[in-house]
C-alpha cells in the first residue's frame, strides 16, 4: 500500500518474470523482468504476436498464475505470496475477464450468466439478478436479459460477457482478443463500448495481436520475446 494520498496504481509490476519448466531442457523464459504501471481509468493495449509472452503476462495480471520472479501488486495487493483460494478471491474482487470465445454457459439465460460471479461473492440471489440486469442495461442489452446465449448474435454474446466482467465492479477489466471472433463492424462497436467504460472510470487492458484494435487504446505496449516496451511511432505507423 502506498503511503499518503498518492493514488495506488491498479497494476504495478516490478521485474516480473515467468519461466516454464525451470531447470529442465524444456525451459522456456516466457517473460523477462517486466515493469508496468497502469493507473485507474486508463485504456491500455498490450500488443504482440503469438508466442511473444503476452498470454503469460495476461495470466499474471489476471491473477490466474503466479510469477517466477519479481513482484506484482494488483490494486495494491502483493500477488506472489497468495495461494489458490486467495488468488480466486482476488480475481473475483479485482478483475473482470472478457475472452475471445465469450465463454457463456449455454444452459443459463443472459441474466444468470452475468450474475454468476456475484454468487462467489456471496451476494443474495435477488440482488444478484437485479445487479445483473443493471449491468446488461449498461452494455445496451436490457431487452435481451432473458435470452440464452444461442439466441444471441456474436456481438450480443460479447456484450453479455462484458456485462459479466462489469457486474462485480472490479477495478480492472482484462480483455483477451475481445474482437477476435467478431466481424469488423461488431468489433468496432465493442471497442467503442470499452472506450465508454473507460470514460466511466473503468481501467481497461486490451490484449491483442491486431494493431488496428490496439489503436483504439490510449497507450499501447508491445511484447516481443518476453520483453515489454512502449510502442514506438514507427510501430504505430506500421
Amino acid at each position: 500500500m502506498a503511503a499518503g494520498s498518492a493514488p495506488v496504481p491498479v497494476i504495478r509490476t516490478q521485474g516480473l518474470g515467468k519461466v516454464y519448466s525451470a531447470g529442465t531442457e524444456a525451459e522456456v523464459v516466457a517473460l523477462k523482468a517486466v515493469d508496468l504501471v497502469i493507473d485507474r481509468g486508463e485504456f491500455v493495449a498490450i500488443m504482440g504476436p503469438s508466442g511473444s509472452g503476452k498470454s503469460t503476462l495476461m495470466n499474471l495480471i489476471g491473477c490466474l498464475d503466479t510469477p517466477s520472479s519479481g513482484k506484482y501488486f494488483c490494486d495494491g495487493v502483493d500477488v506472489s505470496t497468495l495461494d489458490k483460494e486467495a488468488l480466486a478471491g482476488l480475481r473475483r474482487d479485482k478483475i473482470g475477464f472478457v475472452f475471445q470465445g465469450f465463454h457463456l454457459l449455454p444452459r443459463m439465460d443472459a441474466t444468470d450468466n452475468v450474475a454468476m460471479p456475484l454468487g462467489y461473492a456471496r451476494i443474495p440471489h435477488a440482488e444478484r439478478r437485479e445487479r445483473a440486469r443493471a449491468a446488461l442495461v449498461s452494455v445496451g442489452l436490457g431487452e435481451r436479459a432473458g435470452h440464452r446465449p444461442n439466441e444471441l448474435s456474436g456481438g450480443q454474446q460479447q456484450r453479455v460477457a462484458i456485462a459479466r466482467a462489469l457486474v462485480n465492479s472490479p477495478p480492472i477489466l482484462l480483455a483477451d482478443e475481445p474482437t477476435g471472433a467478431l466481424d469488423s463492424k461488431t468489433g468496432e462497436e465493442i471497442l467503442a463500448l470499452f472506450k465508454r467504460l473507460r470514460d466511466d472510470g473503468h481501467t481497461v487492458i486490451l490484449i491483442t495481436h491486431d494493431a488496428h484494435v490496439a489503436a483504439h487504446a490510449d497507450r499501447t505496449y508491445v511484447m516481443h520475446d518476453g520483453d515489454l516496451h512502449p510502442q514506438t511511432d514507427a510501430e504505430a505507423a506500421a
Partner: protein
C-alpha cells in the same frame, strides 16, 4: 456460494442432462431399494426367531424315544418306540440336582364336541410341572387339582382357539365336553400364546392329566403301562443345560441298562441349540443379503463416479470460466460434490419408496417375515448420501485441482 446456491446450481446442471442423471441415479435407486428389502427381511427373520426363543424358553430339554431297529431290521422314526416311562420322569426329577421341573407327556388328536359345536384338535396328557416348563398360564378356572392327576377324574383345560370354537364368548368353565366319546369337565382355560415360532397355532389344543389320558384317550395297543412319549425338563439356569443333558443321558442309560457303546433308546433334544443354529443361519443370510445390497450400492456409486468424471471433462471450460470469475478450488469441489450427492440423494429417495413398497410386496407374496421400521429408512438415506459423498469426492477434487489457464484453453 451459499448452500442453497450450490444446490440450485447442481440441480440446473443435472437437469441440463436429465436423461443421463436419471440413468445414473438408477444405480443408487436399485442399491437403496435392495438395502431396504434385504434389511427388512433380515430383521423380520431375526424377530421371528426371537419370538420362537421366547416361546420355547431357553432352559429346557426334551427327551423323546429314539428310533432304531424295528422288527425285520427296518429303521423306525425317532419317538416311535415306548422306551420312556413314569419311573424315568421321577428319577430325573429326583436324581439330577439342576432339574427344577420334569413332566412326562402323551399326545394325540381328537374331536372335541360341545352341544352342536365341535373342533378337531390335539390333546396333551401332562403332569403338573408341564405348565411351568412351557410357561402356560391359566386364564379362567381353577386348573387341575392334585388329585386330578390320579387318573380317575376327567378334567380338561382348553386352549384359547378351542374355547372360542366351542363356547364363543363364554369361558365354558364347569361345562361338559366330549373328547371323542369320553365326557370331560372343563376346569380351566389357558392364556393365549398366539402363533408359535414355526407358524403353528399354539392355542389349538386341550390339556388333560397324564394318567387320565393314558386310560381314556390313548388308543395305542402296544403302549406298555406307565409309558410316556416325551419327558420335558426345566433346568434351573440356562448355563447348566449342557451338564444337565449329560447327567440325564447317563441316568437314562443306566436305568435302561444300555451297554457302553450301544445305541441309546432315547434322544435328548436341546431346543436352545436348535434355535442357536437357526440364529446363526439367519445371521449368515442377513450378512449375505447385506453384501448383495452393498454390492448394488457400490455399482451405483461407481456409476456416479464415472458420470461425474465425464461431466468434469465435458465441462472443463465451464470450470475454467468459473475459476476465472472468482470460484476457488473449494467452490468448484463443492459444486461437483453437490451434483454427485444430489444424484444419489434423489436416487435414495426414489429407492426408499421402491424399497418400502418392495418389502411389503415381498412380505405379502413371498411369504417371508418382513420388518420395516424408521431405522431401516434412515440407514438407507444415510447410505445414499454416503455413496454420493464417497464416490463424488474424487471427481470433485479432480475438478478443483484444474489449472484455470489450461481449463480455459480447452475447446
Amino acid at each position: 456460494m451459499t448452500l442453497l446456491d450450490i444446490l440450485r446450481t447442481a440441480f440446473f446442471a443435472l437437469r441440463g442432462n436429465w436423461m443421463r442423471s436419471a440413468l445414473t441415479s438408477l444405480g443408487v435407486i436399485i442399491g437403496i431399494a435392495a438395502v431396504i428389502v434385504m434389511v427388512s427381511i433380515g430383521q423380520g427373520t431375526q424377530a421371528e426367531i426371537d419370538k420362537m426363543v421366547s416361546g420355547l424358553g431357553s432352559q429346557r430339554l426334551d427327551i423323546g424315544g429314539a428310533g432304531g431297529m424295528g422288527p425285520g431290521g427296518a429303521r423306525v422314526a425317532q419317538g416311535s418306540r415306548w422306551s420312556l416311562n413314569d419311573g424315568d420322569v421321577e428319577a430325573i426329577r429326583n436324581e439330577v440336582p439342576t432339574v427344577q421341573y420334569a413332566s412326562g407327556s402323551l399326545r394325540g388328536n381328537t374331536q372335541v364336541v360341545f352341544a352342536e359345536n365341535n373342533a378337531s384338535t390335539s390333546w396333551q396328557g401332562v403332569q403338573d410341572d408341564w405348565f411351568a416348563i412351557n410357561d402356560w398360564q391359566i386364564a379362567d378356572g381353577a386348573g387341575f387339582q392334585a388329585n386330578d392327576y390320579a387318573g380317575s377324574a376327567k378334567p380338561v383345560i382348553l386352549g384359547e382357539t378351542v374355547r372360542k370354537t366351542l363356547f364363543g364368548e363364554d369361558s365354558g368353565i364347569g361345562q361338559t365336553v366330549r373328547l371323542g366319546r369320553v365326557p370331560f369337565t372343563v376346569v380351566g382355560t389357558l392364556k393365549p400364546k398366539g402363533q408359535g415360532g414355526f407358524g403353528q397355532d399354539q392355542d389349538d389344543m386341550v390339556v388333560v392329566p397324564l394318567e387320565t389320558a393314558r386310560r381314556r384317550l390313548s388308543n395305542s395297543q402296544s403302549m406298555p403301562p406307565g409309558a410316556v412319549q416325551q419327558i420335558s425338563v426345566g433346568i434351573d439356569d440356562a448355563r447348566n443345560l449342557g451338564s444337565a443333558q449329560g447327567e440325564i443321558e447317563a441316568l437314562l442309560r443306566q436305568r435302561h441298562k444300555i451297554e457302553p457303546g450301544a445305541e441309546d433308546d432315547f434322544a435328548v433334544r436341546n431346543i436352545s441349540q436348535i434355535v442357536a443354529t437357526r440364529t446363526a443361519t439367519t445371521n449368515l443370510m442377513s450378512k449375505l443379503l447385506g453384501a448383495v445390497a452393498g454390492i448394488c450400492l457400490i455399482i451405483g456409486g461407481i456409476g456416479i463416479m464415472n458420470i461425474m468424471l465425464v461431466s468434469v471433462t465435458e465441462r472443463i471450460r465451464e470450470i475454467g470460466l468459473r475459476m476465472a470469475v472468482g470460484a476457488g478450488p473449494r467452490d468448484v469441489r463443492r459444486q461437483f460434490l453437490a451434483e454427485a450427492m444430489l444424484i444419489s440423494l434423489i436416487g435414495g429417495v426414489i429407492g426408499i419408496a421402491i424399497g418400502v413398497v418392495g418389502a411389503l410386496v415381498v412380505g405379502k407374496i413371498g411369504d417371508l417375515p418382513v420388518q420395516l421400521n424408521a431405522q431401516v429408512v434412515m440407514l438407507a438415506a444415510a447410505f445414499s448420501i454416503g455413496t454420493g459423498l464417497f464416490f463424488g469426492y474424487y471427481p470433485a477434487r479432480k475438478a478443483s485441482l484444474l489449472d484455470p489457464i489450461e481449463a480455459l484453453r480447452q475447446q
